[in-house]
Structures are given as structure tokens and as C-alpha cells.
């Protein structure tokens, strides 16, 4: 019983890291552009397929292929933002939310069906020579690719954190998130910042998707589930804190794992939504977000 509990915890943390990574992308885009991109999960799916095909067609190791996957996703981000969302950011707040949701759901349907048409509805996963490897510590199993994924997720979030805190451009992104009007009075081209934030969010989704394809599996309909996860984690962690969002991901992953273990797998998703509601009711600023001043 004891080992089973710890094993669930470990699996929860490992999948939770990917939840956090997925949510950070969504949160960054929302925080800066105030666009809620409900097609975020589909972008993540494309990251997964990119990794899968690079591996299947060219035999490139999925972890080594990460930069290529990121570049591919950045290109998709530029196109999607340029064609669709660049028009939305200029709208007034209320119409912005409405139109973005409509466009986002439309985009998610298009991308889903595109993936279905191109790559069929089959479940796919990247199986490398080392995919089955695992080490055991005190009876608890640690699958090696998932542990490596946790490391990469942490590295990606750390890099993003440093970029936002230390570089001039990063500070401009934070300033724009706080007050776009004041930011433009600093001489910051906010539309370039919006594009940059969107693309960074897409790149994060791409990494997350790649890691999902290695540790788990991908299929054309996975997007909505991941958007939902990212949304729950974003609310859980609170806006504006990368590490808060990451911890939010871990919290969701662990809760889901424990639910599967003790109550039953069918309640896994219900528990996520339940946490979502509880946080919204009792702690709307998120577990780690600062209160509005």
C-alpha cells in the first residue's frame, strides 16, 4: 500500500510537470495579450506529431529533435497569430474575449481535422531504444524518459523565467502584461511584444507536446483535453507566476494520480474540474497568485 501511494505520487509529479509546461504557454499568452487561446491543446498536439514524424521518418532522437520541433511550432505560431489573433488584440476587452473564443474553437476544429486527415485517428507514440528503461528506488519505478522529460520541462521553465526576469525584452513583455498603454509610452512596440509572447507560448506547447509523444501517446483529438488541463492549471497556479503555474501542474497531476489509485480512473478528470471550481470560489487569485491590489 505504501509503495503504491509513493508510486502514484511519482507518476503524478512526472505527468504534472507536463501539465505545468502546457499551462505556462497558455498563461503567458493570456497574461500578455489577454487572448485566451482555446486551440492551445491543438498546438501542443502538433508539437507531438512533429516529434513523432521527425523520429519515424529520419530516426532522429526525440530529445535531440526538440529544437527543430520548437522552430516548427514557432512558425505555426507566427502564421496563426498573424492570420487570426493579430486582428483580435486591437478589439475592446469584451469583444476581444468573445471573438477570440469563437476563433479559437474554430481553429481547434480545423487543426483537429487536419491532423485526422493527414495522420489518421491512430494513437501514436515515439518508441526509442531506451523507452522501456526504468530504474527502481525502494520499490518505486522511475521510467527514464519521463524523468528526462521532467528535467527538460524544468529547464524550459527556468530558461523562460530567466528570460522574462533578466533581459530587456523580457522586462518589456512583463511591462506590457501589466499595462499595455504605459508600455507603449516607454517606446515599446506592443504588437511585436504580443507576437513574441504568442510565439513563446506556442514554443512551450511544442516542447510539452514533444514530451507527451515520448512519455505517453498522441492522437488528433487530444487537444481539448490538454487545453482544459492547461486552463485548470493556469487558474490553480494563478496568473503571472511561472513557478506557481508549474507547481499548479504538479498539484493537478498528483491529485489525478491519487484519485485514479484510490477512487478509480473514471473520476480522474472530474477531480480536476472540481479543484478548478473550488479554487475559483475560494481563492480566485490562484494558489500562488498575489491578491489584486
Amino acid at each position: 500500500m505504501h509503495v503504491m501511494l509513493v508510486q502514484s505520487l511519482v507518476f503524478g509529479i512526472l505527468v504534472g510537470a507536463l501539465y505545468g509546461l502546457a499551462a505556462v504557454g497558455l498563461s503567458l499568452v493570456f497574461g500578455v495579450t489577454k487572448l485566451l487561446n482555446v486551440a492551445h491543446g491543438e498546438l501542443l498536439m502538433f508539437g507531438g506529431y512533429a516529434t513523432f514524424w521527425i523520429f519515424t521518418l529520419y530516426g532522429v532522437d526525440p530529445f535531440l529533435a526538440l529544437p527543430v520541433t520548437m522552430i516548427f511550432l514557432i512558425l505555426i505560431g507566427v502564421i496563426v497569430y498573424g492570420l487570426l489573433f493579430a486582428r483580435m488584440v486591437k478589439l475592446s476587452e469584451e469583444t476581444k474575449i468573445q471573438n477570440t473564443l469563437l476563433v479559437g474553437f474554430g481553429l481547434s476544429l480545423i487543426l483537429q481535422n487536419l491532423a485526422l486527415r493527414l495522420w489518421t485517428a491512430d494513437d501514436r507514440g515515439v518508441t526509442t531504444a531506451y523507452s522501456g528503461w526504468a530504474f527502481t528506488l525502494l520499490g518505486v519505478r522511475f521510467p527514464i524518459v519521463r524523468v528526462a522529460s521532467l528535467g527538460i520541462a524544468l529547464a524550459a521553465l527556468g530558461a523562460l523565467h530567466l528570460f522574462l526576469q533578466k533581459t530587456y525584452t523580457g522586462k518589456a513583455i512583463r511591462a506590457t502584461a501589466e499595462d499595455w498603454e504605459a508600455a507603449s509610452l516607454m517606446g515599446i512596440d506592443i504588437h511585436r511584444i504580443y507576437l513574441l509572447a504568442f510565439v513563446l507560448g506556442t514554443a512551450m506547447a511544442g516542447i510539452a507536446g514533444a514530451l507527451v509523444s515520448v512519455g505517453y501517446s498522441i492522437e488528433p483529438n487530444m487537444g481539448l483535453e490538454w487545453t482544459l488541463i492547461a486552463l485548470i492549471v493556469m487558474v490553480l497556479g494563478g496568473l503571472g507566476s511561472i513557478m506557481g503555474t508549474f507547481v499548479g501542474g504538479i498539484v493537478l497531476g498528483v491529485t489525478q494520480a491519487l484519485t485514479s489509485c484510490f477512487i478509480g480512473g473514471t473520476y480522474r478528470e472530474v477531480v480536476g474540474l472540481l479543484i478548478f471550481l473550488l479554487v475559483l470560489i475560494f481563492r480566485p487569485q490562484g494558489l500562488f497568485g498575489a491578491k489584486e491590489r
Binding site: 530587456y168 522586462k171 511591462a175 501589466e178 507603449s184 509610452l185 516607454m186 517606446g187 515599446i188 503571472g240
Partner: protein
């Protein structure tokens, strides 16, 4: 240096400015006074590019600003301290100041400008690592002005810097504005605190209901009958 000619501006269908003409010459400290809702802030928004006029012309150092975006206008040398300061409360004082020097022209001189700003506002240096949201009202206003100076502006636009401050702080802020002007920065000051602004400024415009209704030397306007009646009691 700055010239607005017959500017009309509107928010959606609501016209706010009617044929506003204002001129600011290099080195001057000019003030635009008038009651709440007269169009003072809107005038500044038109200059800094946050609001595009529906008609009229606007130029800075002979160059038209009508089609320039807000960030480009900062690069050209106009910096605005918006109403209420609008500092980035989640960031440190130093980060706020660094962002003020965002444009390429200012960024290379960042360290030197920072020293200058600290000389004018020593308080900001004491508080540089503090989160800007923890500052008092007067300090916030100092930070907003300091941040605007970091872009090395040729023309500084100030929107009600005295708003919400205790009288003693208002005097301090106004002294600093005079000092900044004396050091060569042209200033356009928007104020509701009419008497103080008129005493400070070389020239003044009076705006009411979106129209310029009076102009002249600051001292002259102090004795201007309608101004006396309306604002000075």
C-alpha cells in the same frame, strides 16, 4: 517644436476636441489648464499617439506625427507621464527606470541618465530595489517622472502630476519640474491646479469643453478675469 493645428479628436462617436491649436517652443514650460473633462488628457493622448485625431495636423520638430505609432513617437523624443503615473507596480523601481530607457537612442546612455535621474530624485535611488507597488503616492509620481526622463526626452508631457498629493509634495514636484525644464527639457504640463501651474509656466492655454478659450503668458492669465472667476475664486 511641437505644433497642433485645428486638431479634432473623438472617442468612437463622441467628439472631445474641437479645433485645438497649441504650440510649444523649444526650452519652454507651457501649461494647459482647464476643468475636469475639458479634454486635457485627450490632448496629451493625441500628442503621444495613443489616440489618432480625426482631423487637423500635428508636427514635432517639423515632422508630422499623424501617422506615427505611440512607440515611434517616444523614439522621436516625446515622453509622457500619464495620469496617475501608471508605474509598473509589480516590478522594482530600478526595472521601471530601465524600461523608461527602452528606446535604442536612450538605452546606450542608460547608466548616465540613471545617475541624472537619481540626482533629481534621490529618493528613487534609496528605493531602487523595492517593488514599485510599495511606494507612497509622492514617490510613485517621482518614479513616473523619472521613468519618463530615462528616455532622454526633448519634450516631456506631464498629465496632472499633482493629482492626489499633499500640498507640500505638490510644491516639491513642481520645483522638480521647474528644475527639469531649466536643465533643457521642454515641458508641456497639464494641470487642474491652475494657480500653481500658471505661476510656474512661461505660457499657458486654457481649455474648456474641448476648445481652447484663452492663452497667454502664465502671469497674465492669472489676472485674466474669466480664469480668476472660474478657477481661482
Amino acid at each position: 517644436m511641437l505644433k497642433l493645428e485645428r486638431i479634432n479628436a473623438a472617442y468612437k462617436d463622441l467628439q472631445v476636441l474641437w479645433d485645438v491649436s497649441i504650440e510649444v517652443n523649444e526650452g519652454e514650460l507651457v501649461t494647459l489648464v482647464g476643468p475636469n473633462g475639458a479634454g486635457k488628457t485627450t490632448t496629451l493622448k493625441v500628442i503621444s499617439g495613443l489616440l489618432k485625431p480625426t482631423s487637423g495636423s500635428i508636427s514635432f520638430q517639423g515632422r508630422s506625427l499623424r501617422k506615427e505609432s505611440a512607440h515611434k513617437i517616444v523614439e522621436l523624443g516625446i515622453s509622457q507621464v500619464p495620469e496617475g503615473g501608471k508605474i509598473f507596480t509589480g516590478m522594482s523601481v530600478l526595472e521601471n527606470l530601465e524600461l523608461g530607457a527602452f528606446v535604442a537612442r536612450a538605452r546606450q546612455d542608460k547608466d548616465r541618465t540613471l545617475k541624472w535621474v537619481y540626482e533629481i530624485f534621490p529618493r528613487l535611488e534609496e528605493r531602487k530595489n523595492q517593488r514599485a507597488g510599495t511606494l507612497s503616492g509622492g514617490e510613485r509620481q517621482m518614479l513616473a517622472i523619472g521613468r519618463a526622463l530615462m528616455s532622454k526626452p526633448k519634450l516631456l508631457l506631464l498629465d496632472e502630476p499633482s493629482f492626489g498629493l499633499a500640498p507640500i509634495l505638490v510644491d516639491q514636484i513642481f520645483d522638480m519640474i521647474t528644475e527639469i525644464n531649466r536643465q533643457g527639457v521642454t515641458v508641456l504640463l497639464v494641470e487642474q491646479n491652475v494657480r500653481a501651474a500658471l505661476e510656474l509656466a512661461h505660457r499657458a492655454y486654457v481649455i474648456e469643453n474641448g476648445r481652447i478659450v484663452g492663452q497667454g503668458a502664465g502671469e497674465d492669465l492669472l489676472s485674466f478675469e474669466s480664469v480668476r472667476r472660474a478657477y481661482l475664486g
